[in-house]
């Protein structure tokens, strides 16, 4: 690998844009999903960000179609505890290298006995995200081959990222900590786990 006249601040052989799976526009992709599948709500926030709201039963179909349209980079899977509505919201973020846009597919499931089909057959990287959500929110993902223990070793308490989990109360009960908290402690720390948004 010896090159005498090598300029160390320049690229050696930059390939410029040789990967172009598709060039559908983000609005076009959203319109197509709306046309193909009944009962979805679509919203184009900008030329690079779109949102699809869909029933949990149809989310596989939406994600498969998005993948076929070039949205093949699975960015993130987020779980949000909507405790006031008694629902969990799951947000699947997909990016297209061709369109250069991000589409968020949102769906909500019941908070009691939460369960939603795994998307690992469509997007392999979801395997770790689902594993984490199972542990942190207690949402089950039938079809995920690896819902084993992830970060919480020997955990016996409720799923800790849920809004009704109070970390302070849990550690006092679990570890028997007997310390006096200052009276000036913000009320959201003494109530129910930071849900105080007044």
């Amino acid at each position: 690998m010896v090159e005498d006249s090598l300029d160390h601040t320049k690229a050696m052989d930059p390939l410029k844009g040789d990967y172009k799976p598709g060039s559908i526009k983000l609005e076009g992709a959203l319109e197509r999903i709306k046309r193909l599948i009944d009962g979805v709500e679509v919203e184009a926030r900008s030329i690079k960000r779109g949102v699809i709201k869909v029933d949990p039963k149809l989310k596989d179909l939406v994600l498969k179609n998005l993948k076929e349209m070039g949205f093949d980079h699975f960015v993130l899977l987020t779980c949000i505890d909507l405790i006031d509505e008694d629902r969990f919201e799951l947000v699947y973020h997909t990016w297209s290298y061709g369109t250069k846009g991000l589409i968020m597919v949102k769906t909500t499931i019941d908070r009691e006995d939460p369960s939603i089909g795994s998307v690992v057959p469509i997007f392999r990287p979801a395997i770790t995200y689902e594993r984490e959500i199972k542990e942190m929110f207690g949402v089950d993902f039938p079809g995920n081959p690896r819902l084993t223990q992830f970060i919480l070793e020997d955990w016996e308490g409720p799923p800790p990222m849920r809004k009704d989990f109070n970390a302070l109360q849990y550690s006092v009960e679990r570890f028997g900590t007997d310390i006096r908290y200052p009276k000036s402690l913000p009320p959201h720390l003494l109530n129910d786990g930071g849900d105080d948004n007044e």
């Binding site: 690998m1 160390h8 601040t9 690229a11 040789d18 990967y19 991000l102 970060i151 948004n197």
Partner: protein
């Protein structure tokens, strides 16, 4: 050979070759890794839960701790998500200062990563040099922000204050020094026969596999995909600046190391151009005072290109003083667990630390 015996060993977090606070459980067939399982969590600090209980502005002090070698991407991505929900316009000068900070941070992180690779193959001179040079960058951060590692300098609406008058001159001086050092790194590391023997052909994967497994950043560019969030989903001042997206074709350990090496040169180029084009004006948009900082209901996903790959913040607000949910997309969450477990299979135990190094896994952003 259907019933061969394997030995399970625990590799890390105490192993000297491990990159950060995580470990493996390796099932070995002789010296060969038959199955690897990553054990994260040694650094889990429940930041996402903590952020729901702190005000929007207090969280600025929490987010940089999510990635230790490259902390500024967190501040920028978190601020960008809030700015998108609030509709805040960031002054152009602040965008330029953010760009300079991000690129300095990228150089520091790449130098540390290259040094780690040198250490993993037994070449301890390189980490001495790169970490020594990274210290000049930390000095620059100290002069600008008052802190060396976690700067807590970027916040929604801009940056905390303007650059000191003599700071750009000092930045240029450090850049000149690092540029002069690059050929030395090249000759000691990339011209070494040991490097060739260890890195060429190490854990290769192609672009289709990389995309299917959400590999991002330098690891993806090493497979020939010309993709960089700085260019393809631009933020801060990257639209105005001219730089090359470095790619290699082979997708092996050597390609990944070369992409990182040449990105240092590109970062130097970006910072110089940003200093030349630096616009005048304010560095902060008008925002509510920190203790009364409220964000209207909404959600936003902000993405930045870190030295390890794609960094993202998905922020949900229900209005009020505290975020409702902040989800961090660390690049290592995909390539540090599932991808790593897949590529380690079939390699020798002595390559484990090296493969982890070429993928540039950053355990804090898995654990966060």
């Amino acid at each position: 050979m259907s019933d061969f015996k394997t030995t399970e060993i625990i590799f890390g977090p105490q192993h000297p070759g491990i990159h950060g606070n995580f470990g493996f459980r390796l099932e070995l067939d002789g010296d060969m890794v038959h199955r690897a399982r990553v054990v994260p969590g040694y650094l889990h600090r429940a930041f996402e839960k903590l952020m729901e209980q702190r005000t929007w502005m207090q969280n600025i002090a929490i987010v940089p701790r999510i990635c230790v070698p490259d902390p500024d991407v967190n501040e920028v991505a978190y601020s960008m998500a809030i700015e998108e929900i609030m509709g805040l316009e960031v002054p152009r000068r602040a965008d330029y200062i953010r760009t300079i900070i991000l690129e300095l941070s990228r150089i520091g992180s790449h130098l540390m990563g290259l040094g780690g690779l040198g250490g993993a193959i037994g070449l301890y001179t390189l980490p001495m040099w790169t970490n020594g040079d990274r210290d000049y960058i930390l000095d620059l951060f100290e002069q600008l922000t008052g802190a060396r590692v976690y700067h807590i300098f970027i916040w929604p609406g801009g940056v905390r204050w303007d650059m000191p008058d003599n700071w750009p001159r000092k930045v240029r001086k450090v850049l000149d020094h690092i540029e002069k050092q690059l050929p030395s790194y090249w000759s000691i590391f990339f011209e070494s026969k040991v490097t060739d023997a260890r890195l060429i052909g190490l854990s290769p994967f192609d672009s289709d596999w990389a995309i299917a497994n959400s590999v991002t950043g330098p690891n993806l560019r090493a497979t020939g995909v010309s993709y960089d969030i700085r260019r393809d989903d631009p933020y801060a001042a990257y639209e105005d600046l001219d730089f090359d997206v470095i790619t290699r074709k082979d997708g092996d350990g050597m390609a990944r190391a070369l992409v990182r090496y040449f990105e240092v040169g590109q970062s130097i180029r970006i910072i110089r151009e940003a200093l030349d084009k630096m616009p005048s004006g304010p560095v902060r948009a008008k925002t509510p005072p920190p203790m009364a900082f409220m964000v209207p209901p909404g959600d936003a996903h902000a993405r930045v290109e870190s030295s390890k790959g794609e960094y993202g913040y998905y922020v949900v607000s229900k209005g009020g003083k505290y975020p409702y949910r902040v989800h961090v997309r660390g690049p290592s969450f995909t390539h540090g667990i599932d991808v790593l477990e897949q590529v380690l299979r079939g390699y020798e135990i002595s390559d484990t630390a090296l493969i982890t190094g070429t993928l540039d896994v950053c355990p804090p952003d898995i654990d966060r």
